[in-house]
Structures are given as C-alpha cells and as structure tokens.
C-alpha cells in the first residue's frame, strides 16, 4: 500500500513535468507566432521619409518642391511642470492650445503610455531654431524633421493638387500607407502619387519596454535608405500659366493654351482656381473651398461640358467642304436668320447678305451654316438622314470630340456628341430631318464639349487637319498624330475666314478684331454659347501665327455674353504674352480692361448669337 502510493506520487510528478515540457515544446518549437512577436516587440523601425518628387514646368521652373519643416513631438510621460507661456510664445501659438493639449494627454495617459505624440505640426525652420535654443526647459518635448510641400511659383494650383496626411478612411482602402504618411489627394499629386512619393526607408533600433531606444540594430546593416520620389516635368509654361490666371481672376471659366505641333499643353486654367498658398495649408481653407459657389476644386477646363457655340461652325464648314456639299464660293442669304420651318426662324445678327463661306466665318453668320448642315444631313448620296448623320458624327468624333483626349490631366471627361439613335428615340425612326437638329449647325443643342477639346480644335485648325492628343506631362512617350477626316486643303478657306475675323478693317464685319496683334497674324473665331444655366458663355478660339503656328488658345468665360467682348481679348493677350513675352503698350489698355473686370455675377440678360 505504501509503496503503491509513493509510486503514484512519482507518476504524478512525472506527468506534471511532462505537461510543462509539452507546453514549452509547443510554444518554443511548434508555434512560430511568438518568434515574430518577439521581433516586433524589441525592434523599432524609425521611418526615414523620402523627399517627394518635384514638379517642374516646361522650362525647369519648379512649381512644387519641398521644404524642411519640423513637427514638435512630446512624450507626455517625460514632461515635467514647465512654463506653458514660454512654450506658446516660442512656438507662436496660444497658451490655451498648450493647456488643451496637455489636458488631452492627461485624459488618455494610459492609452498613450510611453509613446510620443505630435504636439504641433509643420513648424518652420526659424521657429524650430527658437525652440531648439531653449528646448532644455521643456523636458519631454523634441522636434522631428519632416519634408513638406513648398510652392515657389504661384501657378497651376488646380493642376498640382494638394497633399495631406492620410486619414482613417483612406488607410482602410490603402493598407500600404501608414499613419503619418502624406498622400496626394487631387491633381498631379494624386495622379502621379506612385512616382512622386518615393520609397520610405527605415533605421532599425533595439528598444526596451519603455520605448527608449537603446542602440542601432546590427550597426545599421539592416537599415534601408529612403528612395526619393521621381521628379515630374510638365508641359506647362509657368509664366504663361501665371499670366493666364491673372487674366481669369474674378471670372468663371477656362483658359487653355496648346502648342499645336506637339500637343503640349502650355497652360490650363480653371477659374476660380486655387492659389498655391491655399494648397500649402489646405486644411485651413478646406471648409471655405468646399462651400465656395464658384467650385474652385472643380477643374472646368477638362470636366465642364459646354455647348461649343459658334466656334463649332468651323467644324461644320470643314465637313461640308469635305463632303462636297459646300464650296468656298457658295453664297447663301441671311434674312436676319434662317427659316428652318415656315414659322420658325433661327435668328442672326445684322450683316450684309448674301455672303460666301469666308465671309460667313468672318461674320459668324448663323443662317449660312444652317444651309451647310442641311446640305450635309439631307445629302442624296446617303440612304437617308440617319446615315448622313452618322457620317457627320464620324467626322465630328475625328476632331477628338465626344471622348476624353487622354490628356493626363486628372479626371478628364469627354463631353457628348449625339448619335442618330438619340434622335430616333426623340422623334421616332425616319421622323426627323435636318431641321430637327438644325441648332447643331451653330454648336448648340445636344452637344457638349470640354474647353480642352475646343483648344484642341484650335490646334487642329493650326495644323490644318491633325493633332497630337493634348497632354500635360513632358516625357519620352512617343505620341502619334491623329488625323481628322478632312483634307488639309479644305482648311484654307476656313483659316482665311478666321484670319479675316480678326484682321479685317474695322467696320467690315470682322467679329474678333479685338484679338488683332500687329505682325502676329492671329486667326480666331468667336462663339457665344447659350446655356440653360444663365447668361451666354463667351467663347473664343484662336491660333497664331497663321503660318507655322506656335500656339492655339481656347477661352471660355461663363455667363459673360459675346465671345468678342471677353474671351477674345483674354485669348489674344495669352497669344501675345507667349509669342512676344510681354504686352505691347498699344494693347496695355486691353490688359487692364480684362484684369479689372469682375464677371463672377453677371445679371442674366439674353443676347443674340454672334
């Protein structure tokens, strides 16, 4: 009995030891989880932030670069009583801010533990130096260097977009980012985020449980250097962009300049826009930006869809010439408009009649292009209106209308070009004719184009028939010219009309004489786009010089009335600025006239088309 019991006790001892050893075997050898945890525990990665890529204009002027700022960090556990007023003065903040922050740290002290908290973000170097001098008076506080965005040149705020610290919803969608990272939110900063951001590096330290860094891990052998972000060169001309922004101030609309031979976008302005000093401190301005009725965050130049207005007459004229239903010398009457049904007239302004094609372009006659479109749509060559309309649609699309142009401008939209089916739905198959779609002749009705597409039309006219898709990033990507379905020779009368519209003698009916710049041979076409939202939009496209053009410009000024009155001078000033570098004294008055104007809230007043 006694032996039995002590034997049982021995067995019990062995079993208990076996249980301990079994569990030890499991966690030390079988289960890998604890090894990973151990590394996380004792090794601390200190992130080295890469410098974000710089964005340049076409001439090497930096639009965005980086500046070193400092974040003031605090480890609440290490803070002793300190002079809050002195700290607030040094950092240029309210004393209450200090008290609030410290109260917050006290409230969440268990959660914070030994961690550092960001006390104040993005302090400039001067403030940092003042702080560093007396840092010893504030134990627990320290500064951490950090790159932030700097905008040396006030141009292209909308294009550049802003950068901000990632927030919780963003992190949920993009797990590769970490709290404290900055990310491009709009514009180039967002579209080129992957190139611009570079790769983060890290120093590895061993630390103890109180987060005190003890020493470099393996003497830095495992550290990874940060890879700086790639720089981006844009096609933007910073000075032209800045000048254009000045012209468009206090106006709603878009202003775009393209180099026709390359398709490079020289400037792309959406107004009202965002100044770069707003970008630099976006958090501060965010609420007012979002509430602004002028929608400064909205890039009108590539996102707005307007009826093109009279500038679209050029396209119809080219299609008519190509189809053979229009010849340069065809004359049509204008009875202050065009009777497209016995009782309905599409009005026109007062000019001589009848006129030929060149005169029609020069004077922007509505009736003339109604005849042109009627002849295109009701062409006996085709089986009917539907087929003829499809042909017309193909021509229009070959100009780059109806689809995005792949400009690389973020969020570009494509506008709308109606297809025959649309009219089949409205009127029934076989129940519509040229008169049903007659407003398309003058660029009104079921048609929407972006200002960029209109600027591209200017480039096509400058090139006499082809274009390279307008783009905004200057790189080595080969870009092929896209040809319209129009023969180059058909451009001659249209370009002549545009030249005369600008350069004809006063009183002979030229609609865009304000755009004339002696010696530059500007060719242009005005437009006045009716729209359901208010007063007409003022539209103008032009290119210059007539031979070997260097620049094509399109301008939309919303609700500003005649194309001739606002869009035309603005565009011509852009041309002059780009080609001559400055505005000649004889046209300084025009510059003042434009820059002084405030067209943000024009009262609604119906005008005739021109």
């Amino acid at each position: 009995m006694e032996i039995g019991r002590s034997t049982k006790i021995f067995i019990g001892l062995g079993l208990a030891a076996a249980v301990l050893l079994g569990k030890l075997f499991y966690i030390q050898i079988v289960d890998d989880r604890y090894k990973v945890d151990a590394l996380n525990n004792s090794i601390v990665y200190e992130t080295i932030y890469p410098s974000r890529g710089i964005i340049y204009d076409r001439n090497g002027q930096a639009l965005v670069d980086n500046v070193i700022t400092y974040d003031i960090l605090v480890t609440p556990r290490e803070v002793h009583a300190f002079d809050t007023l002195a700290l607030a003065r040094t950092l240029g903040i309210e004393e209450d801010y200090v008290h609030e922050k410290m109260a917050w740290y006290r409230k969440y002290r268990t959660r914070i533990g030994y961690q550092s908290q960001v006390f104040l973000k993005q302090v400039d170097a001067e403030t940092y130096l003042r702080f560093a001098e007396i840092q010893y008076r504030f134990p627990g506080f320290r500064a951490q260097m950090r790159n932030s965005r700097n905008y040396p040149f006030n141009a292209g705020g909308n294009l550049l977009g802003y950068v901000s610290e990632v927030d919780a919803p963003f992190l949920k969608k993009h797990p590769e980012y970490r709290t404290g990272d900055f990310v491009g939110r709009t514009g180039f900063e967002a579209a080129r985020e992957e190139e611009l951001r570079g790769e983060k590096g890290y120093h590895i330290y061993l630390r103890d449980s109180r987060n005190r860094v003890l020493k470099s891990f393996r003497d830095g052998a495992e550290d990874k250097m940060a890879v700086p972000g790639k720089d981006i060169t844009t096609t933007i001309d910073a000075h032209l962009q800045q000048y254009g922004q000045g012209l468009m101030r206090r106006k709603k609309g878009s202003l775009i300049a393209i180099e026709p031979s390359t398709g490079e976008i020289l400037s792309l302005i959406s107004s009202p826009g965002i100044d770069v000093d707003v970008l630099a401190d976006i958090g501060h301005y965010w609420d007012s930006l979002a509430a602004d009725p002028g929608k400064p965050m909205f890039n009108r130049a590539v996102q707005a869809s307007y009826p093109p207005g009279s500038v679209f007459k050029l396209v119809n004229g080219l299609i008519g010439l190509q189809e053979g239903v229009l010849k340069e010398n065809y004359k049509y009457p204008c009875d202050h408009g065009y009777w497209y049904t016995p009782t309905k007239k599409l009005g026109c302004h007062d000019h001589k009649s009848p006129i030929n094609l060149i005169e029609a372009v020069k004077m922007s006659c509505n009736a003339y292009f109604c005849f042109v479109l009627k002849n295109i749509i009701e062409n006996n060559k085709y089986s009917g209106v539907e087929e003829a309309f499809s042909v017309w649609e193909d021509y229009v699309r070959s100009f780059g209308f109806g689809a995005p142009l792949d400009s690389e401008v973020p969020h570009e939209l494509g506008g709308t070009i109606p297809a025959a089916e649309r009219y089949n739905r409205i009127y029934g198959k076989g129940h519509w004719r040229a008169s049903s779609v007659i407003s398309l002749s003058i660029g009104q009705g079921e048609i929407g184009v972006t200002p960029l597409q209109i600027a591209n039309l200017g480039a096509i006219l400058a090139n006499r028939g082809w274009y390279i898709p307008p783009h905004i990033i200057k790189d080595d990507t080969p870009r092929e010219a896209r040809h319209t379905l129009i023969d180059p020779k058909n451009f001659d009368p249209i370009v002549e009309g545009m030249w005369q519209a600008v350069n004809s003698a006063p009183g002979t009916g030229g609609t865009a004489t304000l755009a004339a710049i002696p010696g530059l041979d500007v060719c242009g076409k005005t437009g006045t786009a009716e729209n359901p939202h208010g007063a007409d939009h003022s539209v103008f496209i032009c290119f210059a010089p007539r031979e070997n053009p260097q620049i094509a410009v399109a301008c939309y000024v919303e609700n500003a009335g005649f194309g001739a009155s606002w869009a035309c001078p603005i565009a011509s000033l852009m041309v002059e600025k780009y080609l001559c570098g400055e505005i000649r004294p004889s046209r300084k008055w025009l510059e003042r006239y434009v820059t002084d104007a405030d067209l943000m809230n024009v009262p609604y007043e119906k005008k005739k088309r021109q």
Partner: protein, 433 residues
C-alpha cells in the same frame, strides 16, 4: 576529537547530490538575474545589482546551512514545531494589521531595507507541525477526527493568508494534500478537490446547465466506480443504500458549490484576480491589460526556440518587456536565452530534486523526517507547477517565486532552510531518534 569524527561521519551521510542540485539551481538563478540587469552595467557579483545581492543571500544561506546541519541538533525542529507554528500564526495575523501592501497583498513586514513575508515561513512551520502530529501521537489517516485536526492545522494558516490576499501561497498549501495522501488519506479527497476545481472553472466559463451536466457525469462516474469496487463483496445491498445517500448528498453539495461559485467569482474575488482567471480561461483577450504579463512572457519564452538565443542575448527579458523579470517571471529569461534545452535542463533539475527528496524520505525509518520531506517536496512541486505554468499560460498569474532561482532573499532563505532541515534530519536520524 569526537566532534571532528562526528562531523566526518555526518559528512558521509549527507545527501550531497541534493546540495549540488541546490547549488546548480541557485547558480542558474544568479546568472538569469544578471541577464535581466546586465544592460545597466553593474557586474554580476556587484552588490549594487540584484544578482550580486542574490549572491550575498546565497552565501548567507551557506552559513545557515552549515549551522543547521553541523551545529544544531535536529530534534530541535520537532521541539520547535508547535511553538513555531503558533508564533507564525501570530505573525500572520499581525501582518494584516502592521504589514505593508505589495502588489495587492498585505503580507509583508518591512524591517529597514529587508522585507519579509511570514507566509514563506508558515510553510516551514506548518510542515513541521504536520510532521510532528503524524509522528508522535499515533494519528491515523483513517480516523475522521484525526483527518479534521490535520486539515485544521493546514487550513488555519491558509485562511489567514487568504485574508492577506496572498493567493499564491494558499495554493501551495493544497500541495500538503499529497502528503496526507501518502500517509493514508483516501484518494477520494484529491479527486474531490480536483472535481471542485473543474466545476469552478466550468461554472465561470460556461452557462449553468453545462456545470450541472458535468456534475451529473461526475456523480455517475463515481457511482460506477464504487459499484465496481464493491462487486463480489458480501454486503452489496448496504453498499447500494450508502451509495444512494452519498450521491444525493454530493448532488446537493455540488449544486450549492456551483451557485456559490458564481457568487464567489462575482463578489469575493478581487477585480484583478477575476481578470487574471478570465484571461487564463481565454474568456478575454486583453494583451495590454491583465494578459499583458502572460503574453509578453510567452513571447519571450517562445522566441527562445530550441536552443535559445544565447546567454545575455535575449531581447525580451533584457529590454524589460517581461514584468517582474527577475522575481516571479525569471523563468522567461531561462526560456528565452536557454531555449527548450535550457527549460528541459532546469525542469529536470527540479524533478530530480523533488524525486530525490521523496526517495530519501521513503528510506527513513523515522516518520517525522518522512512526513517533513514530503511536505518540502510538495511545496517545491507546487511552486514549480504554478510558477512555470503561469509563465507559459497554463496557470493564472499568481505571484509566487520559482524556488532557489527567483530573486529575493526571503524566498531563497526559507527554501534553503527547509532543504537544510531535511538534509539534517535525513543525515542524523539514526543518531537522534
């Protein structure tokens, strides 16, 4: 002359293997303690550091050992058992009034730089009294009166220590059941205690109906076992009647137990104790709060792998992720730096020590030495299981030291004293009894 001869003869009868085992464990302790502090730059034997202090305690323990084995007459322990027991009871009560609170338990006396826990000494005195009672007065483990007296002797200090909030030592007292079992206590007592623990856990963790289901299964198994063992005995009807009464009684007792467990858990236990039990049972996953210690300690031990990171190369214990790393969680350092091999070696040392004490105890003709030896072995055993079990998540976090290894003078001293008393009793029993 005779003195020197005596000492030589005595030296031959001492179980030196136990002394080597003791030295090995203390050495492991000092090395591990040093490993947790070596970053601070003090030397291993520098008395400013904890390893140096532990070494001084070790030297003191050597002196005490010499005195206990070679100077004192062993029967003094038996003589002292009752007065010692009573004196310690007084101390245990006094500490509730005059003591200081450390880690939630009011069980420490503070004498200048020294802190001393009467609960440590009470294990020794209780062991001596139990040995004394079982030896001299002819107590029989079959007599209900004697069993109750012994349980009272064990339960009294237990109850006072429970009042102090020193849960760990209370559990150690449960180990004395093994001693009583060895001396003839019915195995059913151990089964009963085990059943209570199982029911306690299940009641906390699962809905009530599960507890009752388990209770029913237990009663069924009990009934079957009793019926089986009574097969062939002459008085089966009487057995059956007794069994019915017993099962009914147990069912009532079990029901009361289950309901009172709910009460105890939600009202009596302190919040931190509740939390620790909940974390152990996997009811809460709180790696920052109550589970932090266990989580960190398991990381440290788990990261040791098979052969460990090497001495002084652990990162978890050295950099202070594991709390109480030189005292209650000293095993983490062994696990991290020594790996599975190191753990195996240390646990085998303990198993050897315990088994050797039991073997020696069994060889004694003198019941006092035998019972005392068992008491000592069970005490080391309970400390080992609870302490190591706690560091690897098998036991709730109960602050008791790892014998001989954990930093702390009063713990090292009392365990060494218990060991030396056993060695003295074992070496000299022929001479004095």
């Amino acid at each position: 002359m005779t003195g020197r001869f005596d000492q030589r003869a005595l030296g031959r009868r001492i179980d030196w293997k136990l002394i080597f085992c003791w030295i090995a464990l203390v050495a492991v302790g000092i090395l591990s303690i040093y490993s947790t502090i070596h970053n601070s730059g003090v030397g291993i034997l520098d008395p400013d550091g904890r390893s140096g202090k532990q070494f001084i305690w070790f030297c003191a323990a050597l002196v005490v050992g010499y005195v206990v084995i070679f100077v004192l007459k062993p029967h003094i322990w038996e003589v002292l058992s009752l007065p010692g027991y009573l004196a310690v009871l007084v101390l245990l009560v006094a500490v509730i009034v005059f003591g200081v609170t450390v880690n939630g338990s009011r069980s420490w006396f503070e004498l200048g730089p020294l802190r001393f826990q009467p609960a440590e000494i009470s294990k020794l005195t209780t062991a001596l009294l139990v040995a004394h009672l079982l030896r001299g007065s002819g107590m029989k483990m079959s007599r209900r009166h004697d069993i109750l007296l012994l349980l009272g002797v064990i339960g009294l200090p237990m109850a006072i220590i429970l009042c102090e909030g020193e849960t760990g030592s209370v559990l150690v007292y449960l180990g004395l059941l093994f001693v009583l079992y060895r001396e003839g206590l019915s195995g059913w007592w151990i089964v009963l205690i085990a059943a209570c623990i199982v029911l306690f856990i299940i009641t906390i963790k699962y809905p009530l109906w599960v507890s009752f289901l388990v209770l029913a299964v237990m009663l069924g198994a009990y009934a079957l076992l009793v019926l089986r063992s009574s097969r062939g005995s002459s008085n089966r009807t009487a057995t059956r009647r007794d069994l019915r009464i017993m099962v009914a009684l147990l069912a009532v007792a079990g029901t009361i137990f289950i309901f009172s467990t709910n009460f105890v858990f939600s009202r009596v236990l302190k919040p931190y104790q509740k939390e620790r039990i909940e974390v152990l049972l996997g009811m809460t996953q709180d790696i920052r709060g109550a589970g932090y210690n266990v989580h960190q300690s398991m990381i440290a031990i788990g990261s040791g792998g098979f052969a460990g990171k090497g001495y002084l190369k652990g990162t978890q214990t050295t950099y202070g992720f594991v709390p109480e790393q030189s005292t209650d969680f000293i095993f983490c350092t062994i696990g991290e730096e020594g790996g599975f091999l190191g753990c195996l070696a240390v646990i085998l040392l303990y198993v050897f020590l315990i088994a050797r004490v039991i073997r020696d105890a069994e060889q004694c003709r003198e019941p006092f030495t035998r019972v005392y030896g068992y008491c000592f072995a069970s005490c080391v055993f309970m400390h080992l299981i609870i302490n190591v079990g706690m560091t690897i998540g098998l036991m709730p976090v109960i602050g008791i030291p790892l014998p001989f290894v954990s930093y702390g003078g009063s713990s090292l001293m009392s365990f060494s004293l218990m060991l030396f008393i056993f060695l003295a009793l074992y070496a000299q029993e022929k001479k004095y009894f």
